[in-house]
C-alpha cells in the first residue's frame, strides 16, 4: 500500500466531497456489485515480498548453467555505469515527453538513440523504438505494403522463426500473404530465387536477416539489390544481434531500404524474454511511413536548441484509424539503456566486443568440430553463432549436456525438421576458455557414449 492517507485525511476529504464513506464514492448498479470471492495473492509487508521472491528466484536454476544459448537473445558484458544512470528516478519515472519543456533530457537521449541506430545501420532516419525485433519486422512489412500497394511479402526461411511467426500473426489481420524463400546448403538465403520471384512485381518486400538465424552473414549480392529496385520491391533487413552492426557491412551498403531489428544486445538483460528494445530505421523516402514516435531538433521561442516529438500527425492519437501504426507506448527506457551502453562502449569498445565475439565463437566452433561425430553444418562466415551437426537427435545430446551442467545451445529441430540433428551454438565475449573446454569435453563424452 503506497497511499499516504491518514484516517483524518480521509474524513476531511470525504467531507469536502460531500460523501459519507469510501464505498459510497464508487456506486455500481446492483447486478454488477462484486459478489465473487477473489483469488489474488495475499498482502505481505515488504520484507515478506523480498523473502517470497527469494524463494521464487531459487526455482529459476537455469542461470547456474554454462550457457551457449543465443538465437535472438544475447548475453553480453554490461558496464554497471548503465544501471547507475538509467535507473535514476527522473528517467525511470518520467512519462512520454509530450510536454517538451520539462522533458528535454529524455528527448535528447532519444534523439541520440535515433542517431546511433542510423550510424550503425546506414539508414537516414530511425524512430524512438518499437517493442522488439519481431514486431519491428511486422511494422516494416506494413510500411512496405503501404508504400507499394501490394499484398504479398517474401521472407527468407533463415529469418528468426519467432519473427516470421509474428509477421504471420500481423499479416493474418491484414489478409496479406507471406511466402518463404528457402536457404541454400551454404546456410544463406537463396537470393536468386527471391529476385526471380520478385520480378513479377507482386511482392511488397523481400525480407532477409543478417546475421541470419543460423548465425551466418546473409546479404543481397549487388545485382540482386538492383533487380529488386527495378521491380519496386523493398528490401527489408532484419538484425537480431545488434552487436554485429559494429563489424559487418551495414544493411544500407547492400541495398536495404528498411531495417528492423533488436537492440537487446546493447545492455538490456535477457530477462526471460523482455522487455527488449526494437528499432526500425529507413531511407529518407520512407520517413513519413515510419511508425511510432520520432524526436526532432528545433528551437524554442528564444532561439535555443530544443527537442520535441515531431511528425505526430502520423500517429494514432491524431490520425486514429488512418495512423501508420497503433503503437503508443514504446520501449523508451530500454532504448535509453542501449544509448548509454553505446556511449560508454564507444567505437573502440564495440569493435573490441565484436572482435571478441568473432574470436570466441570460432574457438568454440573449432573445439566442437574437432570432436568425432560433430561437424559444422554451414561453410558461410558467421558472427557469434553457428550450427553444429551432432549426427543424432539434438534434443538427446542437449539433455545429456544438461546433466553435465551445460546448456549447449538450441535444438534446431524445434523449428527446422530437416535440422533435427543440429544445435545452434553461441559464444560471446562472456564465454570463457573454461566454458569452451567444458563443452568440448562433455560433448565428446556424450558423442562417444552414443556412438556405441
Amino acid at each position: 500500500m503506497y497511499a499516504p492517507h491518514t484516517a483524518r485525511d480521509v474524513a476531511q476529504m470525504l467531507d469536502a466531497v460531500g460523501v459519507k464513506s469510501l464505498e459510497a464514492l464508487l456506486p455500481v448498479p446492483q447486478e454488477l456489485a462484486l459478489r465473487a470471492e477473489l483469488d489474488v495473492v495475499p498482502a505481505l509487508p515488504e520484507i515478506g515480498i523480498v523473502r517470497r521472491f527469494d524463494d521464487l528466484a531459487k526455482k529459476s536454476t537455469g542461470v547456474r548453467y554454462r550457457s551457449f544459448l543465443g538465437a535472438g537473445a544475447y548475453r553480453h558484458y554490461v558496464p554497471p555505469a548503465i544501471a547507475a544512470l538509467a535507473m535514476r528516478g527522473e528517467f525511470l519515472t518520467a512519462y512520454t515527453p509530450y510536454q517538451a519543456e520539462v522533458s528535454q533530457g529524455y528527448l535528447q537521449a532519444i534523439y541520440e538513440w535515433q542517431t546511433y541506430i542510423c550510424l550503425l545501420s546506414g539508414m537516414d532516419v530511425a524512430n524512438a523504438s518499437v517493442y522488439d525485433g519481431a514486431t519491428a519486422l511486422a511494422e516494416a512489412a506494413i510500411m512496405a505494403l503501404n508504400a507499394t500497394g501490394r499484398h504479398k511479402v517474401l521472407v527468407s526461411r533463415a529469418v528468426h522463426p519467432n519473427y516470421r511467426a509474428v509477421l504471420k500473426t500481423y499479416c493474418d489481420g491484414l489478409d496479406v500473404e507471406i511466402e518463404e524463400i528457402p536457404y541454400t546448403g551454404e546456410g544463406v538465403t537463396d537470393t536468386a530465387a527471391a529476385v526471380a520471384a520478385a520480378a513479377g512485381k507482386e511482392y511488397a518486400a523481400v525480407v532477409l536477416q543478417s546475421p541470419n538465424f543460423f548465425g551466418n552473414v546473409d546479404t543481397l549480392p549487388a545485382g540482386a539489390s538492383d533487380a529488386l529496385r527495378d521491380s519496386d520491391t523493398i528490401a527489408i533487413a532484419v538484425v537480431a544481434e545488434a552487436l554485429s552492426m559494429a563489424a559487418l557491412a551495414t544493411p544500407a551498403s547492400w541495398g536495404a531500404q528498411i531495417v528492423a531489428g533488436e537492440a537487446q544486445s546493447f545492455g538490456v538483460p535477457v530477462a526471460y524474454g523482455g522487455p527488449y528494445a526494437g528499432f526500425i530505421a529507413a531511407t529518407q523516402e520512407h520517413m513519413r511511413r515510419i511508425p511510432g514516435r520520432l524526436v526532432g531538433k528545433t528551437v524554442d521561442n528564444a532561439g535555443r536548441t530544443a527537442y520535441v516529438l515531431t511528425l505526430q500527425a502520423r500517429e494514432q492519437h491524431i490520425r486514429r484509424e488512418r495512423a501508420t501504426s497503433n503503437i503508443c507506448t514504446n520501449q523508451a527506457h530500454c532504448a535509453l539503456i542501449a544509448t548509454i551502453y553505446l556511449a560508454l562502449m564507444g567505437k573502440t569498445g564495440l569493435r573490441d566486443a565484436a572482435a571478441l565475439n568473432l574470436e570466441r565463437s570460432r574457438e568454440l566452433a573449432t573445439a566442437v568440430s574437432s570432436i568425432e561425430g560433430v561437424d559444422l553444418q554451414f561453410p558461410a562466415p558467421f558472427f557469434n553463432e553457428f550450427v553444429a551437426d551432432v549426427h543424432r537427435p539434438a534434443s538427446d545430446v542437449l539433455a545429456a549436456l544438461r546433466e553435465r551442467g551445460i546448456l549447449g545451445g538450441l535444438d534446431l529441430g524445434r523449428y527446422y525438421p530437416e535440422l533435427a540433428t543440429c544445435v545452434l551454438m553461441t559464444a560471446t565475449e562472456l564465454t570463457t576458455p573454461a566454458d569452451i573446454s567444458a563443452l568440448a569435453d562433455a560433448l565428446s563424452e556424450v558423442c562417444d557414449v552414443a556412438a556405441v
Binding site: Y2, V17, L26, P42, T93, Y95, N301, R320, N326, C328
Partner: protein
C-alpha cells in the same frame, strides 16, 4: 545553435567524444579481417569514444532536464502516474530473473513461470476473466491481439461479414488505429449529453456486421458507464463481442469487474495500474484477458500448470509445475519475439503482493477520493462540464476562460510547469473543448493536492489580470515553448557531423 556559455545548452554525446578516449571494459580484440572476409566488413564505425566520467556527467545532466514522478505531482489523466515502488525494480533485477535466457528448458525456469502464473491467476480473478496472456508489450499491442482474436473467432463461426468495430468518440486513439490494423472499419459513436455512450446511438449502430464494440469503464471523462450491462447485452444480442480498454482499471479494483459487466476481451496497462515505471514512454506491458469461449485463441505461448508430486510450499502455486505451451491450434499465434515483458511481470506481481485484495480495493477507493476532492475544489474556479461524482479522473474546460481572457488549456498547462507540477492531459477526449483531464492517483497526499489546487487557482486569477504572462509560460524551464511547426516542416531527426 546556442552558444556554450548558455547554461541551458546541452551538447549531444556526439559533440563530446574524441577518437581513442575509450574505456577498458573488455580485453582488446584482434583485427576483424582475421575472422570475416573484408568484403563483408563495414568501412568505418563513425561513433564517438567517450570516457566514463563524460558519459556519466552527460546523462546525469540529461536526467536533471527530465521531470519524473519522483520529482513532483503528475496528474496526467488516463495515465495513472502513481508512485513506482523501488522494491519492484529490486525484485526484477535479481540475477535469477534478469539473466534467465528465454530458451532455458521449462524445468529450469520454474520460478519465472510461477511468477507469470501467479500474476495471471490474480489478474483473472480481479477482473473477472477466464484467463490472461502476458504476451503483449503494451495496451495497444493487446488491443491488436484482441481484435485478431475476434477476427479469428468470427472466421471460425463462418461470420465473415462482421467487419465493423464500434468505438465511442471519447476513445483513445489506439482503439481505432488497432481496428484498422486488422482490416476492420471503424464506426464512431457520439456520446450523449451525460458524457456516456448513448444506448440509442449504439442500438442504431449495431447489426450483423458488428464484430467488436471497444469501450472503457469508467470512460475517459472519468464517468461510470451505468448502462454498461444493457450495452453489453445489446452488443451480444447482435452477435458482437465487447472489448474493455483497461486504461482506467485503477478506478474499479475490488469494486466491479469487466468480466461481470459482460466484456469478452480486455487489456490492462500494468505501467498504469500496477506501477511499472513509465521510463519516458515505455517499456510497458499489456496483459490480454479473455472470457472462457475465447481462451483457445490467446497468443502463444501460454503458461500451463499441472499438479506435481511431493508436498510443501507456502501457497497452492508452490505445489504446481509449469511449462510453456506453444501448440495451440486455434491461437492467433505469437505477437512478440519471446514470451512476455517478463521483468515487468515480476514488478506487477511484487505490487500485487504489497496490496492483496483489500489493498487493491483501497487503492481504487483512494484514487477516486483524490479525484473527487480535486474536482470539487477546482470546480470553484474552472468549468467542470460534468459536475457529478467522478471516478479516478475528471475533466475541466478552459473554454469560458478562453472567451473571457484568451487564455487556453495549453497556457494553463504551461503555467503549471513553472510552478513545479506536471501538466494534466490536454485536449483529450476530443469532445470537450479546451480540455484538461486530471488524474491524481491514490499515492498523492492531501497536502500535494491542496498545493496543486492553489497553484491552479492562482494561475486562473493571473489569466484575468495578466494573461500575457501565461502566454509566455513556461519561463523557469531550460527551454521555453518549442517551435513545433519548424520541427515538422524541416525534420531534423538525427545528429550529423558539421561539414568542417
Amino acid at each position: 545553435m546556442s552558444p556554450p556559455s548558455d547554461r541551458t545548452f546541452s551538447p549531444t554525446i556526439f559533440d563530446l567524444g574524441q577518437e581513442g578516449r575509450a574505456n577498458r571494459y573488455l580485453d582488446s580484440g584482434k583485427p576483424l579481417e582475421l575472422f570475416i572476409p573484408p568484403a563483408d566488413l563495414r568501412d568505418d564505425l563513425p561513433l564517438p569514444d567517450n570516457s566514463e566520467l563524460d558519459v556519466v556527467r552527460h546523462y546525469t545532466r540529461l536526467s536533471q532536464r527530465t521531470f519524473g514522478i519522483d520529482l513532483g505531482f503528475y496528474p496526467l489523466g488516463s495515465c495513472t502516474m502513481k508512485y513506482n515502488p523501488r522494491v519492484n525494480d529490486a525484485m526484477a533485477s535479481k540475477p535469477e530473473f534478469a539473466d534467465l535466457h528465454p530458451f532455458v528448458p521449462d524445468d529450469l525456469a520454474q520460478g519465472a513461470l510461477q511468477v507469470m502464473y501467479e500474476l495471471e491467476r490474480s489478474l483473472s480473478s480481479l477482473f473477472g476473466m477466464a484467463a490472461f496472456s502476458l504476451n503483449p508489450s503494451a495496451g495497444a499491442h493487446a488491443e491488436l491481439g484482441a481484435l485478431l482474436i475476434a477476427k479469428r473467432y468470427f472466421r471460425d463461426r463462418g461470420e465473415t461479414a462482421r467487419n465493423k468495430v464500434i468505438v465511442p468518440d471519447t476513445a483513445h486513439g489506439t482503439n481505432p488505429a488497432s481496428a484498422a490494423m486488422c482490416g476492420f472499419k471503424v464506426i464512431s459513436l457520439p456520446s450523449d449529453e451525460r458524457g456516456r455512450v448513448s444506448l440509442e446511438e449504439l442500438r442504431k449502430a449495431i447489426g450483423p456486421d458488428t464484430a467488436v464494440c471497444m469501450m472503457t469503464n469508467p470512460n475517459t471523462l472519468g464517468l461510470f458507464e451505468d448502462q454498461i450491462a444493457e450495452i453489453t447485452a445489446a452488443v451480444h444480442a447482435a452477435g458482437g463481442l465487447m472489448y474493455y480498454d483497461g486504461a482506467n482499471a485503477n478506478a474499479l479494483m475490488g469494486n466491479a469487474r469487466p468480466g461481470d459487466m459482460g466484456f469478452d476481451l480486455m487489456h490492462l496497462n500494468t505501467h498504469k495500474t500496477f506501477t511499472i515505471p513509465h521510463g519516458g514512454g515505455g517499456a510497458g506491458h499489456g496483459p490480454l484477458g479473455v472470457a472462457a469461449h475465447l481462451v483457445d485463441y490467446l497468443p502463444t505461448p501460454v503458461v500451463v500448470a499441472e499438479a506435481k508430486d511431493g508436498a510443501g510450499g507456502w501457497s497452492p502455486s508452490d505445489r504446481l509445475s509449469y511449462h510453456l505451451e506453444f501448440d495451440r491450434p486455434k491461437s492467433i499465434g505469437p505477437m512478440r519475439s519471446f514470451w512476455s515483458n517478463f521483468a515487468h511481470a515480476v514488478r506487477a506481481l511484487a505490487y500485487l503482493y504489497a496490496n492483496g485484495e483489500e489493498g487493491l480495493r483501497r487503492v481504487s477507493q483512494l484514487a477516486v477520493l483524490n479525484a473527487n476532492y480535486l474536482r470539487v475544489k477546482i470546480a470553484e474556479f474552472l468549468e467542470t462540464p460534468y459536475p457529478e461524482l467522478c471516478r479516478h479522473e475528471f475533466v475541466v474546460s478552459a473554454q469560458q476562460l478562453k472567451r473571457d481572457t484568451g487564455v487556453r488549456a495549453l497556457d494553463l498547462a504551461k503555467a503549471l510547469l513553472d510552478r513545479g507540477f506536471m501538466a494534466p492531459t490536454m485536449y483529450f477526449p476530443l469532445i470537450v473543448p479546451e480540455c484538461l483531464m486530471i488524474e491524481p492517483t491514490e499515492t498523492e497526499s492531501k497536502e500535494t493536492l491542496d498545493a496543486f489546487v492553489e497553484a491552479l487557482r492562482e494561475i486562473v486569477e493571473t489569466a484575468k489580470s495578466d494573461p500575457e504572462s501565461l502566454f509566455a509560460a513556461p519561463v523557469t524551464t531550460v527551454v521555453g515553448r518549442v517551435d513545433e511547426t519548424r520541427a515538422a516542416r524541416q525534420p531534423d531527426l538525427r545528429w550529423r557531423p558539421s561539414p568542417n
